[in-house]
């Protein structure tokens, strides 16, 4: 039985989330709600990487028939067309039709790639996700952003394609490497900043132990889900708020070389920069900025500027200027407000972002 269940509607597409202790079985994946029982004959493809192959195997074992598996190479550097192509090819070989079900088992990279492949396979096949990392549960698996990196730009190629069902099996976190923990925690912190003081206080308790983790994940899922329901394709301003820390963060990730700094670590650094920018623009109160940066430091994130990896500011500015959030030659930065956050539009070419990137930490 799931500990928490949510049902979202993202632009007409139902997306159910199950936070539960155990892994889903094939029956759970099959029963996607939108299909009649006789549809159980439809073909399934599991997608995983070396890290989640043991989980894929357990799911396979829950089926009486042989379920094919496509094993991708791990990591951000393989988040490319070649991996998406491998999924499509495997689906074709496994005989999936337009009613076939793609199941992505893993963290953000696997989720994004599997969702992309499903979204373009025969112009859109069925999709379920099994999110096995904290980053996936706190952010990536929910809300339909799919895609891969190209020309050194994060998710330059992508679609919006919410999964019908997202499973978040807490047992998969038991073996999560420290780097992955840290990466996911940053997205949890980001969501708490956007949400309210209660959530932020609850996050603080995670420093001591993980008893509250399931409740924190549930809060993050509910908060993000409600925002994406209001603005599924980020055409309004609602969904853009979820990009707190991401304009600076993506720039750091890209300039460092994709995969070098984890997404969450880059986002945490970006949140610290957003606090500085918000203070500069008189949007973020000094007390609020100090509280957020102290929390990030507590969790061991790098918040200093310039970043100790000595990445030239010019490289980061170049990456920023090709950011997807750029419109009308203006860059959108999300900065913490007294409560939640706000969008700040900065004209491309303004000296402000460079100043913030380079500012010696206080």
């Amino acid at each position: 039985m799931p500990k928490f269940t949510y049902n979202f509607n993202f632009g007409g597409q139902n997306s159910a989330v199950f936070i539960q202790d155990s892994l889903p079985g094939i029956e759970d994946l099959q029963n996607s709600g939108i299909h009649a029982p006789e549809d159980k004959s439809r073909r399934i493809l599991l997608v995983c990487d070396a890290n989640t192959q043991p989980i894929a195997r357990k799911i396979q074992e829950s089926s009486e028939t042989l379920i094919p598996v496509c094993v991708l190479q791990s990591g951000e550097t393989h988040k490319n067309w070649a991996s998406a192509e491998a999924i499509i090819k495997a689906a074709r070989e496994a005989g999936l039709g337009r009613d076939g079900l793609f199941v992505g088992i893993g963290g953000g990279v696997i989720s994004d790639l599997t969702a992309f492949a499903a979204s373009v396979y025969m112009r859109g096949a069925k999709l379920s996700l099994v999110s096995t990392t904290l980053l996936g549960m706190a952010d990536a698996a929910l809300g339909g952003k799919a895609g891969f990196d190209y020309l050194g730009i994060k998710n330059l190629v992508g679609t919006f394609y919410p999964a019908s069902r997202v499973f978040m099996p807490l047992c998969s976190l038991e073996t999560l490497p420290q780097r992955e923990w840290k990466s996911g925690m940053a997205e949890l912190i980001k969501t708490a900043i956007l949400s309210d003081a209660d959530f932020l206080n609850q996050i603080k308790t995670l420093k001591q132990g993980r008893e509250n983790l399931d409740a924190c994940i549930a809060k993050a899922v509910e908060f993000k889900g409600r925002i994406v329901e209001q603005d599924p394709k980020e055409t309004g301003k609602m969904r853009a708020l979820l990009n707190l820390g991401h304009t600076f963060g993506h720039a750091l990730e890209s300039a460092a070389g994709l995969g070098k700094i984890s997404h969450g670590e880059a986002v945490a650094w970006g949140i610290a920069r957003s606090c500085e920018l918000g203070m500069e623009l008189n949007i973020t109160p000094q007390k609020r900025a100090a509280e957020i940066i102290a929390l990030l430091n507590d969790f061991g994130y790098e918040t200093r500027a310039p970043h100790p990896l000595n990445i030239p500011a010019e490289e980061m500015l170049k990456a920023m200027s090709s950011d997807k959030k750029k419109q009308n030659r203006t860059l959108a930065f999300i900065v913490p407000a007294p409560q939640g956050a706000e969008i700040a539009q900065i004209p491309d070419g303004s000296p402000l972002p460079k100043k913030i990137i380079n500012r010696e930490s206080q």
Copy 2:
């Protein structure tokens, strides 16, 4: 001034069609209706092939600033990821943001590729199409089907992504090669069969001269547009009707080797086969089938079975069995009814399609 203008709404996305004598200028392309005037600064990328490069050049000349052009290799054999990638790369180099405008100038291949690239660029950029072939005007440019061929299967990879504006400049048909004419005419005939006796009679007059051509294109656009409005993503049964002749036709195209037989010629052969299948199933009256096949013969299409190219039936059946229209191990064939057409579901493995493919012509 356009001779005919239509405004469709495909699942919440507005799509305007302009049938006019002359080419659109940059101003027409820019003024996409959904943008405020200050958005005119946004970047544009023209996409064409060697055949439509002169048209792209004329459109370029209508602009005071330099508009970049991406020139693809021509033909169905280049309808692949490499071409889509080339468009995405050119867009990136030209500095297009998410609000950038992709303009595909050409027939079905260019339309499908440009629309696909726009649909996945930063999770969805702006799109206009300039349809320069009869096939494009009668069918491909309208209704949002985007994609490319993979593993020998037509449009295995794709999305639904309607263009905001579709221009159909009749002047571009003046230099259209005979093979292209024939390919497009088949889609016009298909639409007339689905529509009504009046439209079918109007088509017959095109044998004598092309005076009625613009009105025929307008009728096809209106008919298809209204159908796609009701079922934009082919989830219901409405849009599937537009696939008349396509299950047999795609199988012939694929088995012959993509690009060997033109899409329209394959569809015409497929329509003849659908008539035979419809008679076998007591859906198509004999008189109706005879009238349709006579019309196809009048226009010089190959309607005989087995196809004189001696393509093994097994190859065609294999291609059919990987058709996107397959669901629940059942193949959907559209067959002419006393009026319009109907869907006939045939279980995969039924001997009927093979019989129809191989039947000696009567």
